[in-house]
């Protein structure tokens, strides 16, 4: 199968989305820097977005099976919510840094401000 001459399908997008999702999940699991965890979350959301857009694309799935615009709309909501989530998480991280002089998530085990 020659990738340069054959058309692209939904499954290609799903593969990309899967790789991004897994790297993001691993980032969340392995990084000790709180901001690294945040970046992992962004990658996970982004991988999910790739899937949504691929399923909603009229271009990749012509015909009645397409989700229509739902995929793109959900992707839009995900992007907006990711921005909101990043703002709050960043505020929390900076607060944590101010109080503890550290961004190591392993240090955040006191349960008390």
């Amino acid at each position: 199968m020659n990738l340069l001459t054959e058309p692209i399908g939904v499954s290609h997008y799903l593969i990309v989305g899967a790789i991004m999702f897994v790297t993001g999940a691993l980032c969340m699991a392995t990084k000790r820097n709180a901001l690294g965890v945040l970046m992992g979350i962004e990658l996970v959301l982004n991988g999910a977005n790739v899937n949504f857009v691929a399923f909603g694309s009229e271009y990749l799935r012509p015909g009645a099976v397409s989700m229509g615009l739902d995929g793109q709309l959900i992707a839009l909501f995900v992007i907006v919510l990711a921005a909101a989530e990043a703002a709050v998480a960043l505020a929390i991280v900076l607060n944590f840094y101010n109080n503890h002089s550290s961004v190591d998530v392993d240090k955040a085990d006191e349960l008390k401000g």
């Binding site: 020659n2 990738l3 001459t5 054959e6 058309p7 692209i8 399908g9 939904v10 499954s11 290609h12 799903l14 990309v16 899967a18 790789i19 991004m20 790297t23 691993l26 980032c27 699991a29 392995t30 000790r32 820097n33 901001l35 690294g36 945040l38 970046m39 962004e42 982004n46 977005n49 790739v50 857009v53 009229e58 271009y59 990749l60 799935r61 012509p62 099976v65 229509g68 615009l69 793109q72 709309l73 992707a75 839009l76 909501f77 992007i79 907006v80 990711a82 921005a83 909101a84 703002a87 709050v88 960043l90 505020a91 929390i92 900076l94 607060n95 840094y97 101010n98 550290s102 190591d104």
Partner: protein, 198 residues
């Protein structure tokens, strides 16, 4: 020789850049480089969105995700990246555990992605990729212009648009705005130097 499919070529380009830099985010331990690789990965993803015919979502991805969220993230990185926090290494045990779990998750996802026949590539019909901005805007205001020709009336009733989620997201953003302003407020002059954060 078959003619080169430019759509596939650009897809490969963006997919390789996107996946490669997301793996780089995982592998590097320097937090500033992680942020930079993340920028490239997300920008390549927006290229993928453009290729899938989602032009508005692609531009939105650049505007909000890359131009807004990541600038904020790098801002945070710069505020905290000093001394030991620039490069925090992960113990080898966690890497091994992570690789086992992540690898098995990846195998499951990939086998799912490639097994369904309906998701295989199809020859794209003529004139399928239409501009989406207007239709998306209408859908956010509650009118699903893309579902007007839905033959099944029971399905058509459920297609009443996204006005309620749109409003909820708006209120949510307002809450987030207030909340993060509250979180980042200056302390009561006790520490002094930590006041200007965001």
């Amino acid at each position: 020789m078959e003619p080169i499919n430019w759509h596939s070529v650009f897809f490969l380009l963006f997919a390789l850049v996107g996946c490669g830099f997301s793996v780089a985010v995982l592998l590097t331990s320097n937090v500033v480089r992680m942020a930079f690789y993340l920028v490239l990965a997300l920008a390549a993803t927006s290229g993928l969105f453009f290729l899938a015919g989602a032009d508005f979502v692609g531009a939105m991805q650049i505007m909000i995700y890359v131009g807004g969220t990541l600038v904020l993230l790098i801002f945070g990185v710069m505020l905290t990246a000093r001394g030991p926090f620039i490069s925090m290494r992960t113990p080898a045990g966690e890497w091994i555990l992570g690789a086992i779990i992540g690898g098995s998750l990846l195998v499951v996802l990939l086998s799912a992605a490639t097994s369904v026949r309906a998701w295989r590539p199809v020859a794209v019909a003529e004139g399928e990729a239409r501009p989406t901005a207007t239709r998306l805007g209408m859908a956010l205001l509650g009118a699903r212009v893309d579902k007007l020709e839905e033959p099944d009336p029971t399905q058509r009733e459920g297609m009443s648009g996204y006005l309620l989620p749109f409003e909820i997201v708006s209120v949510h953003l307002l809450v987030v705005l207030v909340g993060s302003a509250y979180l980042a407020r200056p302390k009561k002059r006790a520490v002094g130097s930590t006041a200007e954060t965001v």
